[in-house]
């Protein structure tokens, strides 16, 4: 198909371990395959300096654009015939949106504490491989609008607590 497609978006830490990842393609069917890919892409880009400008590399017939800040490593992967600049635009959108959501403190600790925001953010950028939005302000806006609700803003709760609350919600509505 001719529509620009994203294969995966990864957010890894400075040792290559996962913080938040989302795959949109069947090229990596098992978890083992995914982790192998993450390890490979991390090792390949480890020594490069991708802090001022987004960098780009190609391996295994995939194009990977990436950017680093502090101990966060952002990656976006596309097929070998994809328009590299479109991939870079998606990367920039993700990168800047996370920056906005973490309110300037862009490091691993802050990211883990706001994992839910980052997951929502990923959800608002790409849907099933198709690009939904590339403007960081719009993305962050869509994510933020959910946490500005009654009750403790989500950024104060950890993901497990959020899930617990969600489960409670669901059961309550089932019993209605």
């Amino acid at each position: 198909e001719l529509c620009p497609t994203i294969k995966n978006i990864l957010l890894l830490d400075s040792e290559g371990k996962r913080i938040a990842v989302k795959y949109y393609s069947d090229d990596w069917p098992t978890n083992a395959a995914k982790e192998a890919f993450e390890k490979a892409v991390f090792t390949k880009t480890q020594k490069t300096n991708a802090r001022t400008e987004a960098e780009i590399t190609m391996f295994d017939n995939y194009i990977v654009v990436y950017k680093f800040v502090q101990d966060l490593h952002f990656f976006v992967t596309g097929g070998e015939n994809e328009n590299e600049i479109i991939l870079a635009t998606v990367l920039q959108g993700f990168f800047d949106a996370v920056g906005l959501l973490l309110r300037g403190t862009e490091d691993k600790k802050e990211a883990l504490e706001n994992l839910d925001l980052i997951l929502l953010c990923l959800d608002e950028i790409v849907d099933g491989g198709i690009i939904l939005e590339t403007d960081a302000n719009v993305i962050a806006g869509k994510v933020d609008s959910h946490s500005m609700d009654a009750g403790a803003p989500l950024s104060e709760q950890t993901i497990t607590q959020a899930l617990a609350t969600a489960r409670e919600h669901l059961t309550r509505s089932l019993l209605k």
Binding site: P4, A54, I56, M58, N83, E84, D116, L119, H146, L174
Partner: protein, 804 residues
Amino acid sequence: MGLRRMVYVIIKELSPSADEVIIVTSSLMKDMTSKTDMYRANAIRVLCRITDGTLLTQIERYLKQAIVDKNPVVASAALVSGIHLLQTNPEIVKRWSNEVQEAVQSRAALVQFHALALLHQIRQNDRLAVNKLVSSLTRGSVRSPLAQCLLIRYTSQVIRESTNDTQTGDRPFYDFLEGCLRHKAEMVIFEAARAITELNGVTSRELTPAITVLQLFLSSSKPVLRFAAVRTLNKVAMSHPTAVTNCNIDMESLISDQNRSIATLAITTLLKTGNESSVDRLMKQITNFMSDIADEFKIVVVDAIRSLCLKFPLKHRSLMNFLSNILREEGGFEYKKAIVDSIVILIRDIPEAKESGLLHLCEFIEDCEFTYLSTQILHFLGIEGPKTSDPSKYIRYIYNRVHLENATVRAGAVSTLAKFGAMVDGLKPRIFVLLRRCLFDNDDEVRDRATLYLNTLGGDGAVVETDEGVKEFLFGSLDVPLVNLENSLKNYDPSEKAFDINSVPKDVKIQPLAEKKATSKKPTGLGAPPPGPPSTVDAYEKLLSSIPEFASFGKLFKSSAPVELTEAETEYAVNVVKHIFDGHVVFQYNCSNTIPEQLLENVTVIVDASEAEEFAEVYSKPLRQLPYDSPGQTFVAFEKPEGVSAVGKFSNMLRFIVKEVDPSTGEVEDDGVEDEYQLEDLELVAADYMLKVGVSNFRNAWESMGVDFEHVDEYGLGPRDSLAEAVNAVINLLGMQPCEGTEVVPPNSRSHTCLLSGVYIGNVKVLVRLQFGLDGPKDVAMKLAVRSEDETVSDAIHEIVASG
């Protein structure tokens, strides 16, 4: 609430089926009509992920409304979901065409993008609809760079499919693409530039603006832009190296780019576009560069250097030195193997490079850590060394291996020594001495081989001519495929009867010539060419050369496309591929048996060549068995006068023994009946001797061909249906490749010039310029100008037209 959103995300992640979440769906459906836009949008996305056909029809109404919703987030959500749903429920999504069409006109940038993507997917099988869509949007306003990129891709698709129709002379929509090169957004500029470089049969004139823009990207501060540009230019350099030479200066500065992928691409591009004088300078730059990059990049560079050397054979000395130097440095097995393979190819294809190349290889094996490479080189030395002017100088290197290496290499060295002894009579005495010393080796294989060769070479080391049989033994190849031999040996039961090599089936199972899917995982590396048309030529060559009787025919010039010799739906389906060699033609009949109750044996084709006097049948290879649903091949070879493009008509009859088969048990009757089956005639025409090879710049090629063997003449083609029909008829008659889109005749024109190029048998390049004119209402007149490297060929072309 953010919690609700998280639940949505989790539901999507778990992707339960619709019946599992029936409880949740009602809640989601409520959300779909909620006042809060974000809920609507996301509920839609979740529902569409978990829905099935029935649920989908229930919510269809809401989805159609959502597509044209004021809120762009909602609209996009519905459209994107539609794109996904098109895979599973296409009939339902197609009903939304009108709403999607409306959404394409939306002022919201991304809504237009999503709507365009969905609309194109809905309409993609209707070429006319896609054409209309593209036409209207290229004139209208496109509001986001992403939508513009999509439009460029669709436009390219339309251009690709329209060259088959007779449209306007200038490529349609080219102006649109060229205009996009001046767009604000870099992604659009790049997409347009790339699209132009990928146009079918693109001319230098069309390429220029695209390359200018890519050249600017080369000096951008953003690695992504530099990479995208250099990768595209690298691909262009493969087909239009001259178009890229303007960028050479920028490329050279990229050799030192921080990003090693960019640097490697730059180097390989320079290697493709470089001319002979720049080779030395390039080599110097590359030597410094090689130590910086990883093995996988080095292999790419090595391949590019090999291609460069084949292009400029006079430079073999410096390029071969370079390869030999890097061979001696540190490196992994794959890397060194690539270098050795390249040196071997250069030795084979450039005769002047043979001596130095062989010496380089000898020096390498003195210090090689990889047994595989040493044995491969020794084997190669055994074949090529004896043919050189002074084979003795290699003996020392080979014999040293016998002393110093492991058993495998020693055994290989012994075989090589034997080959030298067999081919070079003068060396026989020395070889005998050396082989006798090998009889005391530690390893059995080495001793066995030494004994074997001493005996087969025979005599007592006198300088005598080696027996032909011995040479055949040493150098000949096995008559049977190794796989079959292995299987037969496994099945052989040791008994009184000795193993009979003649019982090994000689038939090779032909692999279906399927095109490699673009999603295959085989790494192609950075500088590899994009997957071209399926390499049927290679497959045919392999097939034909595996049949010993055809091995002496030489290089395969051309294989035609399969021609059906039976109608559809017949009991036996046969098509034929015509293989053209210099002095022979081979007809490969591909046969299929569609009757489950029959097994055909000893299938041959009886060919009546009475209407093809210049041909004499030399060999017919029968197909031993043709069971149901398992296609097979039978071959008939004819000799023809060399260098002459003889034509003729051949009538064919399929002859076989048919045996009844019980389809349920698969048992075959013992007795068979001889039968025959008439096939259609096949014709060998002049166009069969012509290879379609295009040229990118016809005028340059025409000028450089020169007028020495030019032949010009005029013909009246008589009344024709249309000018276009006449043009097509001549193109098909000659079988040559139309250049620069000149096969397309503008409607309502009274005259047309068509440019053709090709390669004729004997490897003669031919260029043809046809000028057509309408003479009166229906009569077509034609002026044919032929330029080629051989006078007889130019005349032959005219012959073809005169008699066609």
